[in-house]
Subunit: 430 residues, 2 copies
């Protein structure tokens, strides 16, 4: 089966009209995607997307086009036989790499393509991506990972050894996963633009649905943050878990002060307290807030495995928030999942947006079966919007993700939704 065509579509959902997804730094996101369709001569298509928030999606579309020459004409067998090399070629095209390297627009574009290849591979193997990954041998998995710039933290040999230690018990964990699902937390209750009444009502509904972990946006005026947290803490009671998310709003000293002030609400973690590029800043913040019982989480804006490597080396994070398409697709997520396991930091993926929940469930389920071997202290983010546009939306029961069953990466958006939300000519934008 050979990849014969690549189509890329600018899809945008007008979410800013309802303030869904609003936070301290992104007051008006229109959840969007550069959506890739790989056509083949084998009767199946590979779908992949990279998440954006409105303006600029056309730039990522242009970047996907610029990578076309490295993808079209490749056979799935060639790629699967040496996925590390295929990935490395995309990430280090000798002229395009100047625009990164391995960060920003060109890396987002790479992720959409790479994930579409995984969708294709999984469909061809008639398995969901989590199962395709879980069934691979340690050697096969490691052959998908580009270890450039991370061998000071983990080597291929070490990774194989780590995976081999868990290989014998994979079947037990797969059975457990199928039985009970994977735990999740809820971010839908506390968006920045929501009223007090909305927040309290959403908390009550979520509790009734079985949710136990809730994340709330902070980084507004100090009194507003305190007010919003007190509403949520009151609604969820002392026994349920609260996390807070500043979306990069603060400088280092400000983050320490603000989080210290919010410690009274007993947040489990502070997410994105400062710039995603600031490894040393995160380490300073973590050192200051850990004695208060608060961990540091980050990752959704961390550009690549090299940034995650340093966050782990510097003991700067307590929760590793991989992103399915900020990192360079499944392959680079494997690298980070392996490093997080080595450093003993739980992986709690970033989700929400459009399609991120659909994507990351596969990564966490694989992590449980083949890498970490545990769901303790691990949660997948859940945000309840835009799922209706997917052919196989996530399934949540009592605050847990149930494993997807269809072959592929669960990322296919219904054709009618694609037509309607194509920017700027779709009906939603008319």
């Amino acid at each position: 089966m050979t990849i014969r065509g690549l189509e890329v579509i600018d899809l945008r959902f007008p979410t800013s009209r309802t303030h869904a997804g609003s936070d301290a730094v992104h007051p008006d996101p229109d959840y969007s995607a550069a959506y890739v369709i790989l056509s083949t001569d084998g009767g199946i298509e590979g779908h992949g997307l990279t998440f954006t928030i409105g303006r600029g999606t056309e730039i990522v579309v242009a970047a996907v086009e610029a990578l076309r020459h490295l993808v079209v004409g490749m056979s799935l067998a060639e790629i699967a036989a040496d996925f590390r090399s295929f990935w490395h070629q995309l990430a280090s095209d000798s002229q395009l790499r100047w625009l990164g390297p391995e960060k920003g627009v060109i890396h987002l574009a790479l992720a959409a393509i790479v994930n579409a290849v995984w969708d294709l591979w999984a469909k061809s193997a008639r398995k969901p991506v989590w199962k395709l990954l879980a069934d691979m041998t340690p050697q096969q998995l490691v052959s998908c990972v580009d270890f450039s710039y991370i061998t000071d933290a983990i080597t291929p040999e070490e990774a194989i050894e780590m995976l081999a230690r868990r290989a014998g018990t994979k079947a037990d964990r797969e059975a457990e996963l199928l039985r009970i699902g994977y735990p999740a937390y809820n971010t839908s209750v506390g968006w920045m633009g929501y009223s007090d009444e909305t927040i309290a009502a959403l908390c009550r509904m979520a509790i009734a649905d079985g949710w136990t972990h809730f994340k709330v946006k902070v980084g507004g005026r100090p009194e507003d943050d305190r007010h919003r947290l007190s509403i949520v803490r009151q609604a969820i009671g002392p026994a349920r878990t609260l996390m807070i998310d500043a979306n990069q709003k603060w400088d280092v000293a400000e983050a320490i002060n603000r989080v210290t002030e919010l410690a009274q609400f007993q947040p489990w973690w502070i997410e994105e307290p400062t710039s995603p590029d600031d490894v040393l800043g995160h380490a300073a913040i973590a050192n200051a807030v850990r004695p208060l019982g608060i961990g540091v989480a980050t990752g959704e804006h961390c550009a690549n495995r090299i940034v995650f490597k340093q966050l782990l080396q510097a003991h700067a994070i307590d929760f590793c928030q991989i992103d399915s398409c900020r990192l360079g697709g499944v392959n680079e997520n494997l690298a980070v999942i392996l490093m997080a396991d080595k450093f003993g930091v739980p992986v709690c993926p970033h989700a929400g947006g459009v399609g991120l929940c659909e994507y990351v469930q596969h990564l966490s389920m694989f992590d449980f079966i083949a890498v970490s071997g545990t769901m303790d202290g691990r949660l997948i983010e859940f945000v309840d919007h835009l799922h209706e546009h997917f052919e196989e939306p996530v399934v949540i029961r009592r605050g847990r993700y149930l494993p997807p069953e269809q072959p592929g990466y669960s990322i296919t958006i219904r054709e009618a939704s694609r037509m309607k939300h194509r920017y700027p000519d779709g009906e939603a934008w008319a």
Copy 2:
């Protein structure tokens, strides 16, 4: 004077045909630029460019277009009165920032625009940019800098104090600069793709022209690196200075081993030994090679002030290689120049490419007059190609840059060259 229009052009020079600019990671660059022209109602234009190396320049062009709405319609007086806010708005557009933030394609695009505004401002003030900057008060300079995410390293108040200490003696240094120029080093002798004979001949010619500092590419096969360095060291003799540049080729341990092996050639610095994102990796390498008398230099691929902040905090670099358009134009370079001075690390800008020499001379000259107060241990990179396309090319005498005299940022490319190298329809690409 109000900005009424923004034009952006995809310019590419077919440099890969001669191997000029080739190194271990970029074997075939076509030096290129997204070239911005701001038109005004005041009878002058602002020109700015961001440097790229071929494929993908069209992506940066698309990103410049996406920023248009933040620029067109602004008056120069409004911008100059609060340049910090203007810069911050460009860097943190609530939807576009998702594509970075402050890195990669969107940051390169921002730099082209911001530098065009400085060109406009300097022309309107009838001064070269270095002189415009040198004549500003500490308060005015600091009002151009966005201190977001760097206040743990430097505050506006500290910066004003630092600048005020040198303000009284600026006139002396300006006179010295006009008299003797600013020291430079030569990168034109040792590109990866050049033959032994070419390298030796170029060294001889450069010595005859008065050059004393030479940079050579490494990161090829170990025996090839040794061979190239032995040719250069023999040609330049023991008294002149040699620097080596690996262009991110190595992992951390490999970098330490390879540089240790090359210590016999007494390089003054190793440049870009590993990934530009790897602050901790650079620190490890610096700790290992400093005892050999070798410093670590990096910066041309460092995404923003936050990465430089950490390189300085972690004592990971001995030479701070600012880039005029990888960083977000003059304003973010000011931030890094100030931090480097505070941490006592000399600024030695990255140049070459197309227009980078023309740009960075202004930054180093300002640094000398108003910030560091010294040229000791400081050099501007010089690469001798593509200068003929500029209306005011750099002037080098006996290995030193002479201060530009015309108003503006010296970055205007001749109209005939723009026509000829416009991609894909210019004559050079026909």
